[in-house]
Symmetry: C2
Subunit: 272 residues, 2 copies
């Protein structure tokens, strides 16, 4: 049974809470860290956000999220690069270890072209990340998000993108929700371990059949993913970071968040 101190919670998991509420609640509950979504920084500014996070004593595995590189117009691609730099700045300011990248996809753009633009975007931003000592973690998203969120949908594709750049600052965030179905998952995790690209590990669970494509994730143990097995794989591959809990759930967001956090803690200890 893993200690809660081995886990970080994504602020989006408790969508209605401010950054202060998240940090207070996570620290009080005994979690080891918080992964900060930019929407909770926005209303208070990065200076205030940094103060809150640093005062909490929580580790910060990730700032979420950068990426979204591809676009039809070059001005939009440049805007994306600028935004990724700001994101890296913010990560440095709050003491985050990495920025999680949802790489992007554009309706109407062939995926091969989108993937090319992602590689270009990564090339253009990696030096800035390295200079600021912030890791960039490509999160392969489930293929059901290939149309408009991510043209990188499997560990293998993320690995190819990493190999093309070959920087110690570029790696992969493995979210069980996105990759659990992949027959190559175990081999790719092992390979990521060898290549030192295993930057993040996210947990939640998959409801068969999800009632919503975006916000129907379930608590660990309430779905069909063998999370313990995948955790064993990432640990065998040398992963030593915090396990990040990231659950988007319309159902759970509508409940009492204090009670919900207790359920999250229990689910983490029993099923991760």
């Amino acid at each position: 049974m893993p200690e809660l101190s081995t886990a970080a919670v994504h602020t989006m998991t408790n969508k209605s809470w401010s950054l202060q509420q998240c940090c207070d609640a996570y620290a009080t509950a005994g979690f080891g860290g918080v992964s900060v979504w930019r929407n909770v920084i926005e209303p208070i500014g990065i200076t205030e956000a940094s103060k809150i996070v640093r005062a909490s004593g929580l580790k910060v595995p990730a700032l979420v999220r950068g990426g979204f590189f591809p676009a039809f117009e070059s001005t939009l691609r440049q805007a994306a690069l600028d935004d990724n730099q700001r994101c890296i700045d913010e990560a440095a300011e709050i003491g985050a270890e990495m920025v999680v990248l949802v790489v992007g996809a554009v309706v109407g753009m062939p995926l091969a072209e989108a993937r090319k633009q992602v590689n270009e975007g990564l090339s253009n931003v990696i030096d800035y990340a390295a200079k600021n000592k912030i890791k960039l973690a490509i999160e392969p998203l489930h293929p059901m998000y290939a149309a408009d969120r991510s043209c990188i949908n499997r560990m293998q594709e993320a690995r190819h993108a990493c190999e093309a750049i070959a920087s110690p600052w570029l790696g992969i965030a493995v979210d069980v929700y996105h990759v659990w179905w992949d027959p190559d998952l175990e081999a790719e995790i092992a390979l990521a371990g060898e290549q030192k690209t295993l930057f993040g590990f996210h947990v939640c669970d998959w409801r068969p059949t999800p009632r919503d494509l975006l916000n129907d994730r379930v608590l660990m143990g309430a779905g069909c993913i063998d999370i313990k097995h995948i955790r064993a794989c990432v640990e065998r591959a040398g992963f030593e970071g915090l396990n990040e809990i990231e659950i988007f759930s319309n159902e759970k967001w509508a409940t009492d968040q204090e009670d919900y956090l207790k359920d999250i803690a229990k689910a983490y200890q029993q099923h991760v």
Copy 2:
């Protein structure tokens, strides 16, 4: 612009219609074929269904659907085999070229075990298919159906299953909805052509973001899939069968089906 005679429509596309209504409407509209779902056979029996289909003059690429091999209990696995034999019998009776297989998956069963049981199921049913001269077409389903419908989610996995059995009666049905996102799609289609396993080609389109995991497919051209390109790939690979139109849509099922069929015909000619 492809002739409508190059297309077959799946009866499930017009879910509220009987087999007779489907056959009348598809033949009148000028479509070349009908792919028959078992739910429209059930209320009238296979003898009557066969009469209707044969009288229509329509070709029958597929009977839909067999498969669902994995189960925790051996009695259930045997029941699945029996049902697949009945399915092959029905296909022979209505003059279908193939049975489409949704291979199955079971919540709580590791996917590796489910895939093993699928291979066993295929081994156990292939001789019966060959004897009856009915092709079996594995349809890789989108990874979002891996929990409870299909443990085969990419062309590559379907190819591995075909290679393990190596029968001219076992092949693949390529449905653009399930595989459009896969970076290996073009290579796998070419390989299927070489291996003579390219049995079926299904079209519809992907709405970004689907509002429902099962029944929110859209008309060809109304989504983000480059169907013309994929059709060119399958034809380059030697595919000469009918292109099958298969659209599950709560939205469209609620509309006038005669009008809808006209839209389907138009969408097929413009976007396939």
